[in-house]
């Protein structure tokens, strides 16, 4: 079937403002949107820039906005857009565009790093594994699916209004260590996100949960953090 793509184009060094360009592509219903974008780049227009690597939703590098919704181009298929007159392809909202669909992810990774995304277990390297009850480990089942693609950040209305808000993915990473029974810095971690720009910035729009390509209950996880803050420090 033939598809029409309208793609956001912008080279800050050459263009005074962003514009859209239309491309037509032949594709099978089972092909990925990423396959179509590659075909455009390889066969029609080598100047189109976007990130990609694994092609099946593990590396998280091809997050973008497809018909208004943040998604991974490798996880959406041509048949998902059957009957749509065109597919509008745009960079993730709320991020600075470096070129076309490539956005500046540095501020995002700074936020992730700020929550200390590593185990703080107090002791020096133990000779054997630290024990963990299977029920405790199960609490992490969903959040460890996060691939840091930033779809949630693009979709979050609060991130769009307040650049200081930590945002959904960094809060998922905060959850990952707050609720890891092996970690010794729980109180400190909770204190760190106990602010208006932290967990309390979330207004339960659920947009992050809706777009998460790994189906993580993001909003629910943030609410668990809020509840834990109240439990530990009192409301």
């Amino acid at each position: 079937m033939e598809l029409t793509f309208r793609i956001y184009r912008y080279d800050p060094e050459r263009d005074s403002e962003a514009y859209y360009r239309t491309y037509r592509v032949e594709a099978e219903p089972g092909e990925r949107i990423l396959d179509c974008l590659n075909r455009i780049k390889w066969e029609q227009d080598g100047s189109l820039s976007f990130r990609m690597s694994c092609g099946h939703g593990v590396c998280g590098s091809d997050a973008m906005r497809l018909n208004g919704r943040c998604a991974l181009a490798c996880q959406k298929l041509v048949q998902d857009y059957q009957g749509e007159p065109e597919i509008l392809v745009e960079p993730l909202p709320s991020f600075r565009v470096l070129k076309d669909l490539v956005v500046d992810l540095e501020p995002f990774f700074e936020k992730v790093n700020w929550v200390r995304p590593y185990l703080l277990a107090g002791d020096s390297d133990p000779q054997k594994e630290r024990l963990q009850d299977p029920a405790e480990r199960k609490k992490l089942d969903q959040v460890i699916r996060c691939i840091l693609c930033a779809c949630c950040m693009g979709a979050c209305p609060v991130v769009g209004e307040n650049e200081h808000f930590l945002g959904p993915a960094p809060l998922v990473w905060a959850f990952r260590y707050i609720f890891d029974s092996r970690d010794q810095e729980k109180e400190d971690r909770l204190r760190k996100v106990d602010s208006e720009d932290g967990a309390w910035g979330c207004r339960n729009h659920f947009e992050c949960t809706r777009v998460c390509p790994k189906e993580i209950p993001v909003t629910k996880s943030i609410n668990f953090i809020k509840r834990e803050i109240e439990k530990v420090f009192g409301s």
């Binding site: 390889w42 080598g46 939703g57 298929l77 590593y118």
Partner: protein, 477 residues
């Protein structure tokens, strides 16, 4: 470090069965593979990322190394291209550790990322250093049909079964003791021979991986990522329907030869001053001719750590040179030449022809004739690349058109080495299967292969295998 491994009831790390994991050398399968659902690799990566954040390790994101700075046989740094600006950077260094991963993108069907183009290994080759055991290429038995996306061996570890068009559990015929959990090369060949004998599903080029008997709950808990891949890409519920699979290029046993401390070895077997390699791009040769599932972590974590320690100790004695201007100029000219060409053929078309050819000639089954023809084609494509390769975009910002053109040169260079090594080895061993020489031949071929560049020519040599505790013997499952 905090990897979120699954746990046993007593709180210790849980283990599951995996391909080729047996007790008493093949007697029966054992549960030896530690795991975190079916995303073990990804969460180890996440944990290592966290560790690098904690230690404040400086990362230069989106820089591609274009070349090594080599002088008088020693490595003094690298030249790197910055995607965001198109600038070239010269890094002076006492030591360089190549950790650029595999190069599955040489093949059409692969589980590898688009980025797995082998630039690191190719750069080492370009400087006259050898690559070792490049004919040993692992085809994982269960890639999603058409896409090559990996269905982890965890699926068979948890009890998944392979079936042909008659619904027969055909691995019982090929490996009566451990059946579906035989080593990957054995299972891949079994699948290909079922397909060749017309027992693929509907006579087509795939078989079925049946997980339906495992039940929804177990699939959700232990195999949730692959269940989701199958749902997304095939529209199939693995609890209700079998998954169409065929072999997919997965791992390179060969690569840059190193000693057990990651020091890169030259053709004479001496360590190259200042050059180290670890991970899939390296060949410490713990895998021999076929890697067992999970053992990639030996290359990555065990030898990665050993190499880091060796490098740290060596850096105290290694000198820092301020040279490298010529290497920088050479990279600039290489880009300039590509930019100046106004007409010709773009990288994607050449790459597709290479991938198709490699799949047909250098895949699970190989023959002298096929490898010879493959070499001709690849050398022809290299010539096309040299004289015709043209860019469509000449800008400086995120020029992925340029990056792919540079990567294509690496892919073609490595494809030639693979074909040559496969052509020379006139026997079958591990993942290398020659239809014209189906038996293992220890009298002539119990040796490593080395391929290195000598001017414009590739040279082939062998080197002895060091055998210590375990004598090689046929695998009988």
């Amino acid at each position: 470090m905090g990897v979120p491994f699954n746990r046993n009831p007593d709180g210790t790390i849980a283990q599951r069965a995996f391909g080729g994991h047996t007790r008493n050398f093949g007697e029966a399968p054992v549960k030896r593979a530690c795991y975190a659902a079916d995303r073990t690799g990804r969460v180890i990566l996440d944990t290592l990322y966290g560790q690098s954040v904690q230690k404040g390790i400086r990362v230069y994101p989106e820089l591609s190394v274009m070349d090594l700075v080599v002088r008088d046989g020693a490595v003094h740094g690298v030249v790197a291209y910055e995607w965001a600006t198109g600038e070239l950077h010269l890094f002076h260094a006492k030591a360089v550790l190549v950790a650029t991963g595999g190069f599955g993108k040489v093949f059409k069907t692969t589980s590898n990322c688009f980025a797995n183009t082998g630039d690191g290994a190719h750069m080492v080759l370009r400087h006259g250093f050898p690559l070792q055991d490049m004919e040993f290429i692992q085809f994982h038995p269960t890639g999603i049909h058409g896409l090559g996306v990996l269905i982890s061996e965890a699926a068979r570890g948890e009890g998944g079964l392979l079936r042909n068009r008659d619904g027969e559990r055909f691995m019982e015929r090929y490996a009566p003791t451990i059946k579906d959990l035989a080593a990957r090369d054995v299972v891949s060949r079994a699948i290909m021979s079922e397909i060749r004998d017309g027992r693929g599903i509907d006579g087509r080029d795939f078989v079925h991986l049946d997980l339906t008997h495992l039940g929804k709950e177990r699939l959700e808990e232990r195999l949730s990522d692959i269940s989701s891949f199958v749902r997304i890409y095939l529209g199939i519920d693995p609890a209700a329907q079998p998954i169409p699979v065929h072999p997919t290029c997965h791992y390179m046993m060969g690569g840059i030869p190193t000693d057990v401390d990651g020091r890169v070895l030259d053709a004479a077997g001496y360590a190259v001053p200042g050059l180290y390699a670890a991970g899939e791009c390296a060949c410490v040769s713990v895998h021999g001719a076929n890697r067992l599932g999970c053992n990639s972590l030996l290359d990555l974590v065990v030898f990665g750590r050993r190499t880091g320690r060796r490098l740290l100790a060596d850096v105290a004695q290694l000198p820092l040179h301020e040279a490298g201007g010529e290497a920088l100029d050479a990279c600039r000219e290489r880009i300039q030449r590509l930019r100046e060409r106004r007409s010709g053929e773009r990288a994607a078309g050449i790459r597709q022809r290479m991938q198709q050819e490699m799949m047909e000639r250098c895949g699970v089954y190989r023959t002298a004739k096929g490898l010879e023809e493959g070499l001709d084609t690849i050398r022809g494509l290299q010539e096309t690349c040299r004289t015709q390769l043209v860019l469509d975009y000449r800008g400086d910002r995120y020029n992925t058109d340029l990056m792919e053109a540079l990567e294509l040169e690496s892919l073609l260079g490595l494809a030639e080495v693979m074909l040559l090594a496969a052509q020379k080895r006139t026997e079958s061993r591990g993942a290398h299967y020659r239809e014209d020489f189906p038996e293992r031949d220890d009298a002539n071929w119990l040796c490593h292969s080395l391929v290195y560049r000598d001017g414009a020519q590739l040279r082939y040599a062998t080197k002895p295998v060091s055998i210590t505790r375990f004598q090689p013997k046929p695998r009988v499952y």
